[in-house]
Symmetry: C2
Subunit: 304 residues, 2 copies
């Protein structure tokens, strides 16, 4: 039995400059990366918002062709979310040049009736009050993962803590885990987050990989050392999308499945950063994904 994954988050146009080149208004946004990664393993129901006049039909066609249901992709009066940024040559940092939230600023996720029995859910990085609203609408949710960001940790902490207490998996990066807990040691930060409610927390560490903590285990997925990085945008969302898509596809969320999902997420993210935007994700074969999954596994295998 496979489940579908419900994804709630941003759909955007990204203008991205790296030492490898530049793209203008490429399809992006966290929910887009998540959906295109997850759809390699499971059907995806996407809830998001775009502008009523500026979102090309070809993007909708692309999403549909990859198994993403877009009944929940609202078209609102105004412009689609636009982001523009430039990466340092060594990819250690990026500078945001422009953010125009557009219709995303007043995004109020509406869950279409057929999605209301969703069991696997990824709550993207939106206002915690909206994440709670989505959770309230999903009585059969069995495994919910949530992302967040510094802004919500700083300005909406009480609501964010309610979200954390109700999800099964929180996915954050090093800096967010520190902001949320005051602990720099990742082991202690994870313990504090687990004490807030989730049964699992993943702390992402960029090119170094990601750590999964549960109450009684730790698991580490290394990043694959790549000869070339073209565009890191969406790598974390691709990782989370691959993971949650795998879990939904397997209808499983035991620890071993989460670990395997992290390896798939890492495999997909390693492809994603080798081209601009979502393009690398759209052309992958399952054989390519499996081959890189093996590569990630072998990276830590003593026997080779």
């Amino acid at each position: 039995m496979t489940s579908k994954l419900l994804v709630v988050g941003s759909v955007a146009f990204d203008t991205i400059q790296t030492r490898a080149g530049k793209v203008e208004e490429a399809l992006g946004g966290s929910a887009t990366y998540v959906s295109l990664a997850a759809s390699r393993f499971a059907g995806v129901n996407l809830v998001g918002v775009v502008g009523e006049g500026d979102f090309p039909q070809e993007h909708v066609t692309l999403l549909k062709s990859r198994g993403v249901d877009v009944a929940g992709l609202e078209r609102a009066k105004g412009r689609t979310f636009r982001w523009s940024g430039v990466y340092a040559d060594d990819f250690s940092s990026r500078t945001t040049l422009d953010t125009q939230l557009g219709v995303f600023e007043s995004f109020d996720p509406k869950i279409p009736a057929p999605y209301l029995d969703s069991r696997y859910v990824l709550l993207g990085n939106i206002h915690p009050a909206l994440q709670l609203k989505v959770l309230d609408a999903l009585p059969r949710a069995e495994f919910v993962a949530a992302d967040t960001m510094n802004l919500w940790i700083n300005v909406t902490r009480p609501e964010l803590e309610r979200v954390v207490s109700r999800v099964h998996l929180l996915v954050v990066n090093d800096e967010e885990s520190f902001l949320l807990t005051g602990e720099r040691q990742v082991r202690l930060a994870a313990d504090r987050i687990l004490a807030m409610g989730p049964s699992a927390v993943i702390i992402k560490r960029g090119e170094h990989g990601a750590l999964l903590f549960t109450r009684d285990s730790v698991f580490y997925t290394p990043g694959l050392p790549l000869p070339e990085v073209v565009d890191p945008t969406g790598a974390g969302d691709t990782f989370a999308g691959g993971l949650l898509g795998y879990l939904a596809g397997e209808s499983a969320h035991d620890v071993a499945s989460i670990r395997r999902g992290m390896l798939y997420g890492t495999a997909l993210a390693s492809y994603a950063v080798q081209g601009f935007g979502v393009t690398p994700l759209t052309n992958l074969t399952r054989a390519q994904i499996d081959s890189r999954y093996d590569e990630v596994r072998k990276l830590t295998s003593v026997e080779g």
Copy 2:
């Protein structure tokens, strides 16, 4: 059959301040950490220099009691190398407060006759001309690892390149690999170093672990996420010492043995940083080391 490990490098007094406290003039130096880590697996022959009047007999006794032969520990006129530094609270950086090279400034390693048939060698971070001199004195050297530092890369590059061309394993950190090759991508930096001669290169990434590259393989040892770090001084040397000690003890240097050695090195380093100076290394039981080796292995095991 086991071999002994020949270690050439610094013996020093370290004054270290971290958020966990402070120690004054504690026994330190790269050759000390390497020797005390390596001696858990093999006999160690130590070549270094200390001051003739200021090096306490208790340190010599400690080294001997751990199976370290100190016939090559020269006592020279002057003072022992002293270093003093303070770590940032999050251990992401450290500031050197004082460096007094003392007798180490004119260190000219003399290899005692019984060490001349050494097969396993770790050339610590000394002037590349001295590393070459040691190499010339060891006709039976079968597996030589070398460490270096930014200073030698910047000011003695031709000699350093000769060292790199003659060793089997180069151990550097991210920053050194970039300085040496001009490549930020660790995969490309490793390829450049391998093209210079060694059959293997290890790129250390601090708390994130270390990567081993050979011509046709990559291996990743993650760092163990620890609840508490007291003093990271010597962690890299402890890692290298554990690795080389394991190889000498096994008299093996195939890729699988190097990988296992890296796990042992990681296990030892994880203990080393949980106390000040070399103290944590001196009291460990083999059972404790093996238990942490298993912990490091399990960190990347999907099956748990």
